[in-house]
């Protein structure tokens, strides 16, 4: 039976490209990403709470790179904004709301990524 999966939150084009279409590697990478994103968001939340903007900037920069593999445009845009605000020390009052929105988008994205990892494996 053919099943057509609809993926609303993720686009793995870049991940597939970097893996040269190797499914075993894609599965390994997806497992790493699924483990890494929630842990990194937690670190970003801690940095935001402690108003450690330098740390938040560095974590957001790193997160942006990880998100490129996931292809979630909303998460990438939010992370870029966080990175910019933390680097330039502007609109810092908006950071808590941006962090909430990032965490919400991440939870939906993680569910989909886990499903995709299962389908590959």
């Amino acid at each position: 039976m053919n099943t057509i999966e609809n993926y609303q939150w993720t686009d793995l084009t870049y991940l597939s490209e970097i893996c040269d279409g190797d499914r075993e590697l894609m599965k390994t990478m997806l497992d790493m990403i699924v483990a890494e994103i929630p842990a990194e968001i937690e670190k970003m939340q801690d940095a935001a709470q402690q108003r450690d903007w330098k740390e938040l900037f560095e974590l957001a920069h790193k997160m942006k790179t990880t998100l490129a593999y996931v292809g979630n445009a909303d998460m990438i845009a939010t992370t870029k904004t966080l990175e910019m605000f933390a680097r330039n020390l502007t609109a810092l009052h908006e950071i808590p709301e941006l962090m909430r929105s990032l965490a919400q988008a991440a939870s939906k994205t993680m569910v989909e990524l886990k499903r995709r990892a299962q389908n590959i494996g």
Binding site: E17, L25, M29, T65, Y69
Partner: protein
């Protein structure tokens, strides 16, 4: 088998490049910081180095200067630069002695081809 150092702070990209370059017949030495990479290069233990321009502990220009001027090493160097990296940074590093660069995202096959073009012939005799 040629021994290639990949210095990439991002664990995910490092894993992918390690895996793919081994598939292309290279032995891969991994590093996530400039210091780790310098230690390997200083010991002459690699045939070529692939290095991200955004190292956590070094500016890329200082890194290239150390290799070419202090270590007097001629190990071929390929830089990996991110899209938003200023081209001037890459240009200065090339002027200081880096041999080539690739902009992330790139296909691993493209990196493998650049590596093969730069590897000294003796690296294949090992």
């Amino acid at each position: 088998m040629p021994r290639v150092l990949i210095c990439e702070p991002g664990r995910i990209l490092l894993t992918a490049l390690d895996y793919r370059m081994r598939k292309y017949g290279m032995e891969v030495v991994r590093a996530q910081t400039g210091e780790e990479a310098l230690r390997r290069i200083h010991r002459n233990s690699v045939d070529l180095a692939v290095v991200n321009t955004r190292l956590p502990d070094f500016r890329i220009l200082s890194f290239v200067h150390l290799i070419r001027e202090d270590f007097r090493s001629d190990v071929p160097l390929i830089l990996l630069s991110e899209v938003e990296e200023e081209m001037e940074t890459v240009f200065n590093a090339l002027e200081a002695g880096a041999n080539d660069f690739l902009t992330i995202p790139f296909k691993p096959l493209e990196l493998a081809m650049r590596i093969q073009l730069l590897l000294p012939v003796k690296a294949y005799d090992k």
